[in-house]
Amino acid sequence: MKIVVAYKWAANPQDAEVGPDGTVDWSRAKGAVSEYDPVAFELARVLADTCAGEVVGLTVGAAAIDTPLARKAALSRGLDSLVMVADDALRGADGTRIAAVLAGAVRAIGDVDVVVAGESSVDVGDRQVAMTLAAQLGWAGLNAVRAVTADGGSLVVEREVAGGVETVVAGGPVVLAATADAALPRVPGMKEILGAAKKPTQVLDLAALDVPAPADTIAPVSTARPDTGNRQGVMLDAADLPAAAAQLTAALRQSGVL
C-alpha cells in the first residue's frame, strides 16, 4: 500500500507582524511542520506498519520550504521518502491552487492508495485544502478521521460525526483529514533524525506537473486589523493582591457579571 502524507511547512501566525492597517508581514516568521500535521504522519506510519505499506511525505510551497532542516523534520517522522514542489510561483497561492498542485504531485508519484492530512494548517486554518485535493483527484474525501485500517482492498475509516463516531468503508482511493487528537505523535529522536538523512527526497518541477495555470479570480480590496473591541484595560495593582482581588470582585459584582 502506498500512503502519502500531505503536510504543510508554514509559520505560526503569532510570529507574523500585523501593521495597524492590517497588512501582514511574514518575513520574520520561521517555517516549521504545521502544528497538527504530525498527527497525520503518525496515522500514516501506523497504517503502513500494519500492512507492509510505504509512507511518502508530500509538501508544496515557495522555494524556501526546501532546506536540509526542513527535509529532516519531515523524514524523521516515519516517512520512507519525501516529495516536494518548492517553487516561488506558489508564494501566496490560494487553497484551490495548492490542492491542484498537490493533486498533480500525487499523480506524479503514482499508485497512491490513500492521502492522509492534518486537520487544518496553522497559518490558514480553513480545514479545506485536503477536501479540495480529494475532488481534484476525483477521489472521496473524509474529514474528522480518528483511525484508519486496511481490510483487503478497502480502507476502513473511523470518523467523528455529530454525537458519535461512524465507520466508513472506502472502496477506492481516498483523502483523509485527521482530527487534531486522532493520535499522539511520537517525537523524533536522534535516531530518527540521523535516519532521516539517509532517506531520499525528490523535488518535482512545478512546470512539469499536470496542473492548470491559476486563474486570477480574486482582487484585494482592503485589509484591517481585527476589532478587538473596546475593553477597559484596567490593570490592577499586583503589589497588593488581596486588595486587587477585592477591587476586582467589587467591580464585577457592580456590573452584574459575577
Binding site: E17, K30, A32, L69, K72, V187, M190, L194
Partner: protein, 438 residues
C-alpha cells in the same frame, strides 16, 4: 581497557549558538565528522543577546562575513550615559575608524544564529534540531575520573571521540560532570531585553546615522532603580534592542522584580525621545555570567571541552558587554585543539590541554583577566546614583545661568561635591580603581 565501540561521529557539539556553530564549522573544515545538536526547533529560537557582536574574531573564520551574514548595523558610534531622574550626562564617541574593517555589529539572534548554523551545514556538519540532550555518556577514565564518550537524548545514544559543551550559561553538560557548580548570585546577572520596531528612516534620523551605520548606547544610573547594573540601547536595521542587565544579588536584596526595573526603564523620560512610537515586540530574559575570570573553571576534561557562556566566558566591562566574540574565540581555540588531539589519538584532559593554552595565548582569557577587576569595581554602589547626580550638578552649574555670580569650573565642582554624598576620597579611590579595572 577494551577498545570502545566505534563512535558515530568524531565530535558531538551540543548547542547551535555562536560557540557551537563556529566550533562545528571549524572542525568539519578540518576534516572531522561533526553533529551539531540544538534543542530549539531552529538555531537561535532559544537564544538571546543584548545584540552587539564584536565581529573581528568572526572575520577570521568567515572573512567578510558582515557582507554576507544577516547583520543589522555596523556600530560607528558608542555613547555612555549617566542618567538621573531629570538629567543625562553622556560621553559620545563616533569614528569612521570603527566602520572599516568592521568592528562591532548589531545582530538579532533569531536571524543570525540560523545563518551561522547553515554555514556549518554547508561545511558538512549534520545539524540536528529539536533534540534536547539529557545526559552525557561516560565511562571510567584513565585516572578514575569519568571519560565522556557521547550523549543521550531520550532513549537514543550517540557516541563521539569528543563532546563540545556549547549549551549556554546554565550549561547542563558542564554541571552534569561537576565542572560548574550553581553560581553564587554575585557572579550572576539577569538581562531583560525587548526589541522595539521603528522605521529605518526614523532610527537614522533619531540616532544621527546614515546607511548601515549603527549606534550603541550604554546607560547607567537612575535606569536601574539603584540596583547594580546598567542598560543598553542598540540600533538594528528597523528596530531597537533595549535592555537592562541587573546584578542578581542586588536585585534580590532590593525586593523588586527584573520586570519592574525594566518597565521603569521603558518609561524613563531620559529614554522617551528615543523610544517614542516604537512598537514593543518580543521580550525575553537571560542569565548572564559576570563572575569574570574567577568563574572560568575546568574547561577541558577527558573527552569533553566547554566553550562560550557554558565556560563562563562573558565580560561586562561597564563600557562594553561581550559574550558572542568570546564564544567565537573559544570555539576556534577548542576546534583547533580537538583536531590536534584527535590526530594524536589522545583526547584525555591532557590531550585537550591545547584548548586552554590557545585561550590564554589569544584575547579570550587575557581579556577575562584584564577585566577581572571589573565585577568587583562595578559592585561599588557609587556608580549607580550618586555619580550621575554629581556630574549633572557640575554641568548644571556650568550651563544653568540663573543670574547668580558665576564660579570657575573648580568652584562649581567643589560646591557640587560638598552637596553630594560622594567624598573626595571616594571619588579618587573609585576613579583610580575604575581606570585600572575597566
Amino acid at each position: 581497557m577494551t577498545e570502545a565501540v566505534e563512535p558515530d561521529f568524531d565530535v558531538i557539539v551540543v548547542g547551535a549558538g555562536p560557540a557551537g556553530s563556529v566550533a562545528a564549522y571549524r572542525l568539519a573544515q578540518q576534516g572531522l565528522s561533526v553533529v551539531l545538536i540544538e534543542r530549539g526547533e531552529a538555531p537561535g529560537s532559544k537564544n538571546l543577546s543584548g545584540g552587539v557582536l564584536y565581529g573581528r574574531v568572526l572575520d577570521q573564520v568567515f572573512p567578510g562575513f558582515a557582507d554576507e551574514a544577516p547583520v543589522e548595523r555596523r556600530i560607528t558610534r558608542h555613547v555612555t550615559t549617566f542618567l538621573t531622574p531629570d538629567s543625562a550626562v553622556s560621553l559620545d564617541f563616533r569614528s569612521d575608524r570603527l566602520a572599516e574593517p568592521v568592528n562591532a555589529v548589531t545582530v538579532l539572534r533569531a536571524r543570525f544564529d540560523p545563518w551561522l548554523a547553515s554555514k556549518a551545514e554547508e561545511a558538512g556538519v549534520f545539524l540536528m534540531a529539536g533534540v534536547r540532550v539529557d545526559a552525557l555518556l561516560t565511562e571510567p577514565g584513565p585516572d578514575g575520573s569519568p571519560r565522556v564518550v557521547g550523549v543521550r537524548a531520550g532513549e537514543d545514544e550517540l557516541r563521539a571521540r569528543v563532546v563540545v559543551a556549547a549549551d549556554g550559561v546554565n550549561s547542563f553538560l558542564a554541571r552534569d560532570l561537576g565542572l560548574r557548580r550553581t553560581e553564587p548570585t554575585n557572579h550572576l546577572a539577569v538581562g531583560v531585553k525587548t526589541v522595539l520596531r521603528l522605521p529605518r528612516a526614523v532610527i537614522e534620523d533619531r540616532f544621527g546615522l546614515t546607511g548601515g551605520e549603527g549606534a550603541a548606547h550604554a546607560i547607567v544610573g537612575d535606569c536601574t532603580l539603584g540596583i547594580g547594573g546598567g542598560a543598553f540601547l542598540y540600533t538594528n536595521t528597523e528596530s531597537l534592542s533595549l535592555g537592562v542587565v541587573l546584578r542578581l544579588d542586588d536585585l534580590v536584596r532590593s525586593g523588586r522584580t527584573a520586570i519592574e526595573v525594566f518597565e521603569h526603564l521603558l518609561e524613563h523620560p531620559g529614554l522617551a525621545p528615543y523610544l517614542r512610537d516604537a512598537q514593543v515586540t518580543e521580550y525575553g530574559s537571560h542569565l548572564v555570567a559576570e563572575g569574570g575570570a574567577a568563574m572560568v573553571g575546568t574547561i577541558a576534561t577527558h573527552g569533553m571541552v566547554v566553550v562560550g557562556e557554558a565556560a563562563g566566558l562573558t565580560i561586562n566591562s561597564g563600557l562594553t558587554v561581550r559574550g558572542m566574540d568570546l564564544a567565537i574565540g573559544s570555539a576556534i581555540a577548542a576546534a583547533d585543539a580537538i583536531v590536534e588531539a584527535v590526530a594524536a589519538g589522545d583526547v584525555t584532559a591532557s590531550g585537550l590541554a591545547g584548548y586552554r593554552r590557545r585561550l590564554e595565548a589569544g584575547f579570550v582569557l587575557r581579556d577575562m583577566a584584564t577585566y577581572g577587576r571589573a565585577p568587583k569595581f562595578l559592585e561599588r554602589t557609587g556608580m549607580y546614583g550618586a555619580y550621575g547626580e554629581l556630574a549633572a550638578d557640575v554641568f548644571h552649574g556650568v550651563f544653568g545661568l540663573d543670574t547668580t555670580p558665576r564660579r570657575h569650573l573648580l568652584g562649581v565642582a567643589r560646591r557640587a561635591l560638598k552637596e553630594s554624598p560622594v567624598t573626595v576620597r571616594q571619588l579618587i579611590s573609585d576613579g583610580w580603581a575604575g581606570v585600572r579595572a575597566l
